[in-house]
Amino acid sequence: MTPDHPKVDWPRKALFDQIPLDIIVIDQDFTIIEANKQAQKTHPDWRGKKCFEIYHGRKRQCPDCSAVETFKDGKTRIEHTENTDEQGNIHHYEVHVSAYKDEDGNIPYVIEMANDVTDRVTLEQDYRLLFDNVPCYISVIDKDFKVVDSNALFRKTFAKEGTRYCYEMYKKRDKVCTKCPAVRSFKTGKQYTSLQVGVDKDGNQTHYVVTAAPHKKNGGAVDHVIEMSLDISEVIQLQEKLKQAEQEKLENERFAAVGQTVAGLAHGIKNILMGLEGGMYVVNSGLKRANNDLVASGWGMLQNNITKISSVVKEYLSFARGTETKAQLVNPVGIAKEVYELYKDLAQQSDISLVANLQEGIPDAPMDPEGIHTCLANLISNAIDACVVSDKEKNTITVSCSEKDNVIAYEVEDNGTGMDYEVKKKIFSNFFTTKASGQGTGLGLLVTRRIIFEHGGKVSFESVLRKGTVFRIELPRNRLPKVDTSEDNSEGK
């Protein structure tokens, strides 16, 4: 121990002991010659010991010792060290190493002041762990778009060896991307989010939502931007699958409609068949009885049913042929207006007022205008029939067109006869007509439903006997067919 080591006396002694840092003074042999109370707490047996013994359990001087350098040049240094206490807990220290100079400028002692920064380091480690393991890509870029920090997931996914710039990593480009949210963030100091498609290390397309957040040191200009990206490739894939499933569902619905058409047709034919058989029977019976009137009745039945079957077959053929929907961008309200104009006078002739209730400003939609026209005409024509046979004094039919939540809706409402349970039950599932013979083949609603299915929509109705009926066509925009361009192409040729 050197005899003339610095005297630490009161109040300096008090300050030395009270300061919340471990302070030791070492001589050129690294022997501790003074320790404050805080340092003594953890190392009560400090006297005569070397600093490397006490703090690092070593027998020799530490290889990267800052004190060695400070003894040489007198400069203050900060080093980070860690040690393990008796309980096995690791402590982190930030150590200020500074020189004690005597009057001749020699450095006989070095003062080491150690601040226990374990809490801060643990917090930093926790943040790093979070930063690296959070399930999104994080990169910090400077004004040149150089990635200065990034998390493990980002590096694992995007950082190919030799790449330094974010556009190289995210998109394998050699210059800044167009519509880059970081560019805007640097410019305005605000946060931006956008959907991007990148390429990962292995060349796979990656969809991600990136948020560019500005980082300002000392509240001044933006010096860095933090890019946080969430991989949504799976969501996009799911979306595609969902779209496909929707398409398949639509196809199935179409098949079901065809199946019901066949069932409906069979029903119609059964009735006609019985009429034909009856006609033959009555003719034969008339001949047997030598009753000309009966023969004439039977012949009439045959003629009547042959007419019926030919009209059913014709309508069915047009139904079967017309399965192709030719969509073009048209205004949904325009179609309703057309049909309204067409039926207004016809309704008036039967003393029925036809009212149009059309929402303004519905944007154009890809639809087959002829198809939708047919549907509305069928529904209005049915409504007129329902009103004609009703016993009410005043009949009204309201045709409306509206749009809510991207669903275009048409409604045809009448206060005619309404339908009872049996009619409602059979109205779609099995095609039939309640109209007197010769007034309808029963295909109208089936055609309507088929066209609406082709448009990805649905037809529903509510009806109360003697009160009236409302038919509703709903067409979600996202299920509408694509605009058909085949005709344009053929014209072009």
Binding site: K270, M274, E277, G298, K426, S437
Partner: protein
């Protein structure tokens, strides 16, 4: 049966209720050829009136008719003390007539006290089966009557 003697017509009477004139014509001719007295109605309302005034031995009912459906008419006949004993058969095209047996019929007529119809026939009719059933049933009924 007194009325029949008064009218001088010993044939059994069948009431046909169907809105399709061709079917009425067919069944009338067919059943008349087989020695039945046939009366007919083109809707449920007229059918109910005729059931009351004509006291038929059998009713052939269509299901889908304007004004009053076959099912509603059947319910009225079976709950009317004067009419409920009249046997009814159903002739229908709009669904397989066989599905009207059992559960489907019970779905339409929820009242358990109403018995199921005597039989169901699908249009177009299988004439030998249809006539065989009617002949058999009405001849038995006649025997019991006398």
């Amino acid at each position: 049966m007194n009325r029949r003697i008064e009218m001088g017509d010993n044939r059994q009477k069948i009431l046909i209720i169907d809105d399709e004139p061709d079917i009425v014509m067919y069944l009338t001719t067919l059943l008349e050829d087989h020695d039945y007295n046939v009366v007919s109605a083109s809707d449920g309302q007229k059918g109910l009136e005729l059931a009351k005034t004509e006291a038929p031995d059998l009713v052939c009912l269509d299901i889908m008719m304007p004004k009053k459906t076959g099912v509603a008419l059947y319910q009225e006949i079976k709950t009317d003390p004067d009419l409920k004993k009249i046997p009814c058969i159903i002739i229908s095209a709009y669904e397989s007539a066989y599905s009207f047996k059992g559960q489907a019929f019970r779905r339409l007529i929820k009242d358990d006290t109403i018995p199921a119809p005597l039989n169901f026939f699908e249009k177009p009719l299988d004439i030998p089966v249809f006539l065989g059933f009617i002949d058999d049933f009405l001849s038995k009924a006649k025997k019991n009557d006398t």
